[in-house]
Symmetry: C2
Subunit: 183 residues, 2 copies
DNA sequence: GCGCTCATGTAATGAGTTACATGATTGA
DNA sequence: TCAATCATGTAACTCATTACATGAGCGC
């Protein structure tokens, strides 16, 4: 039940059309809550039906025509309620760790190259986060909403840092073990 | 498409019934791939229909009767294929970070106590992982499958360490901001 | 027999993914 | 006018979650 709230947040930051939202999910918001345009359109329809958002007038609502939405007071209230509500952390799901555990049983053949690929991807993501940090969060900033946003970015940076370090360590272990242990 | 492979791995480690698998998912395997008993029974049915596992004879297969499964050669082959196949990392999804971003817009009221709760939960998980490490991975161990298992556990420990550190940092920021900024 | 736990399931719903469809706009 | 791109959607399917159902065995 988080996608509608992700959309409400995005629309509060700036009223947008479905495609604009999709692009923003591909960038900043999608860093910790991804969504496809199909999900977004479906959810926009529901949110409008529930009276939490409304289409901005001005544009005619026809297929192929841009249609922008803004958040209504009921939507803001629902987002505030959800933000404050206690929620349990979702149990982890990580396919790569699962594959490592499987490899302990059926052999490590083929895994090493994918570990390298993941290391590269996480390294890129880390670099991207760091660039955003340098651009958007100069030292000495202290507006509350800025500090909260920085906190979120920090989590992204630290997570990617963890992955690059762990993958580097894992690859070193693989070097020591050889490429097809237990096969 | 990871649940069937998680089950194959678990069954290769030790043939089990549905409920035994459920318990093992609650413990070790579920640390990075959780599943409920309903998912597990459904998936066991599919895996059996696909000829990747089979029910051990000996026990009669009636409702309320224990039914154990073992992996067939085709199942082991499928697991090896999946382990070696290249897979993209799944985009992150974290509701807590989303809530922080929402809080930057609608206010931080109520969030602080949930951050504390999460910190406590992650602290407990970290302690549990460390206990497992001490119990199952004494220094100087070097059997390949042991080293792979240790690598996976290390990822869990480092991830929980990241969360406890980040949450501690976040709470310090909240102290500095006051409990209901921007409300 | 009654309540409890063990063990295996079914049903309904919701969330996410993949593939495809359709109209509008723009530039060659 | 044709192709490409922008923009909004539908449909079908898989995966996950929640709630409930059913039978077996055991202790009292």
């Amino acid at each position: 039940m988080s996608l509608p709230h992700a959309i409400l947040t995005a629309l509060l930051e700036k009223p947008s059309s479905g495609l604009e939202l999709t692009r923003r999910f591909d960038r900043s918001i999608g860093y910790f809550w991804s969504a496809t345009h199909q999900q977004i359109y479906r959810e926009l329809g529901r949110l409008e039906a529930d009276g939490l958002i409304r289409a901005l007038p001005a544009e005619q609502p026809a297929r192929g025509q841009k249609k922008s939405y803004e958040v209504l007071p009921a939507g803001r209230a629902e987002l505030a309620r959800w933000t404050a509500a206690s929620q349990d952390p979702k149990p982890q799901r990580d396919a790569l760790l699962l594959r490592l555990r499987a490899a302990a049983v059926v052999g490590t053949a083929g895994l090493q190259s994918d570990l390298r690929r993941h290391l590269e991807l996480h390294g890129k993501q880390l670099a991207e986060y760091r660039a955003i940090e340098e651009r958007d969060f100069p030292p000495g900033e202290d507006a509350p909403h800025k500090r909260l946003q920085h906190l979120v970015l920090r989590a992204g940076i630290d997570l990617e840092t963890f992955w690059t370090q762990w993958l580097t360590h894992a690859l070193a272990e693989f070097e020591a073990l050889g490429d097809d242990t237990l096969a």
